[in-house]
Homo-oligomer: 292 residues x 2
Amino acid sequence: MTISIAHLAPPGTYAEQAAIIYRNWLTQVTNEQAFLCPHSTIPQSLRSVSEGETSLAVVPVENSIEGSVNITFDTLWQLNNLRIQLALVMPITHMLVSCANDLATIQTVYSHPQALAQCQKWLEDFLPHVQAISASSTTEALKVLKEDITVAAISSQRAAQLYDLPILRTSINDYPDNCTRFWVISQNQQPNTYKSLKNTASCTSIAFTVPSNIPGALVKPLQVFAHLGINLRKIESRPTKRSLGEYLFFIDLEADIASPSMDSALAELCNHTEVIKLLGTYNVISVTNTSI
Amino acid sequence: MTISIAHLAPPGTYAEQAAIIYRNWLTQVTNEQAFLCPHSTIPQSLRSVSEGETSLAVVPVENSIEGSVNITFDTLWQLNNLRIQLALVMPITHMLVSCANDLATIQTVYSHPQALAQCQKWLEDFLPHVQAISASSTTEALKVLKEDITVAAISSQRAAQLYDLPILRTSINDYPDNCTRFWVISQNQQPNTYKSLKNTASCTSIAFTVPSNIPGALVKPLQVFAHLGINLRKIESRPTKRSLGEYLFFIDLEADIASPSMDSALAELCNHTEVIKLLGTYNVISVTNTSI
């Protein structure tokens, strides 16, 4: 069976780059062929997997500077048949792409709000009087650059190459250790390729709601894991969208779901939560070479 | 002394509306006069208070649908001399503003990403083939509407009135209980006007970091409050921006900082945290009438 991988369009986005890296890795490790299926939003990528149109989706989860990608968490909570297979951590290096000969010519910079935020200090220092405009992706504005030398965009090296555009400044992100974590998502019933290779997973992600307005309602679920020595790597709260002050919680734990301590932890967790969802148990790959 | 209030520009944004509601309330309650100082970003609004250029800032903190406003949390962590005076919860009702006669004419919808996200289902149902484009505020796109009837914007009723534009559809937000919480921020040394009127505050906000990679490192600070029966209303994690997987935590507690239980809680909290910051102890006002 040929594997199809949903990801955020258009070509040249970091999400596409992560999807290609994952595809190459998959082919290398399992000898399976895979092709990419671009979608215009993250929810559409995830829904295509949930509805069986594509085999997998590669979606951004969290950036080291800007934090969580909320729409990924909200969509995973809404859809019921998805499971995380793998996490990919990819370094992010932003380029200033423009047909201008120097910075003084530039009047407007376009990019995705996350990329603009990740280069905020650089923009303040080197382009203080330039208007920064939000675009729906890092590549959206690239098509106008050839027509207007007063415009620049912040995007990846690969995007500049794809659109045949010059890079005016390299590595303009404010923090050198900028990286983004992606999740590879499948339907529940798919075998976890990477886990079957490694036997155990290093991380388990769970989402839950707790009874509201009870002191310590959130502490009890977290205590379950602390008592068993399971490290909580991350906690994220998202609004339930019912009323202000009601939250869902997403936690990442450093343990395989099949470990004995997790077994008793999950059983106890049910006593302290209202709704609970297992998002997946998986390993994390750190990408060092982003050239594709 | 005349009070100056920093807020997010341009005129017609929900942040301006919240600032005006606060100004009117302040004048009514304390008889003090205040004027508004628009700033082009949230960090600039907060920095103007930190540097003593303005007396107060009114900044968005959290929306009931889209969640936290990350830039507000990140800036409060960076600046050291600010304190929350008051929280304002304001209902948000989005309008579809356009010079078109019917929905079929519309080809493009502009708005702030938060507003687009809050009307996502409505857009899918009623304008499925329309391109949604992110703008830096809900009012930015309004100036082009008179020149192009194929364009619409999602903004407030007040913005439509200010720019003299027709409202094509009212209340298009997906969830009727859509509301945003704002914080009124001053310098540390300012007296808390509202608290001095009420004697006790209902909420305390604290930010902290914990030692990394220790199982239960986050649970311990939360246990302190649970043991004392202090309800944790909200927890928010933000990246430290040093490396992926290191977080700051922002918590809202249902107690006045001056209550005896909080006193011992704070002392104990210091044993389980690395850096700890008191963001403020304050009351919450729910705005019912948003006309100004």
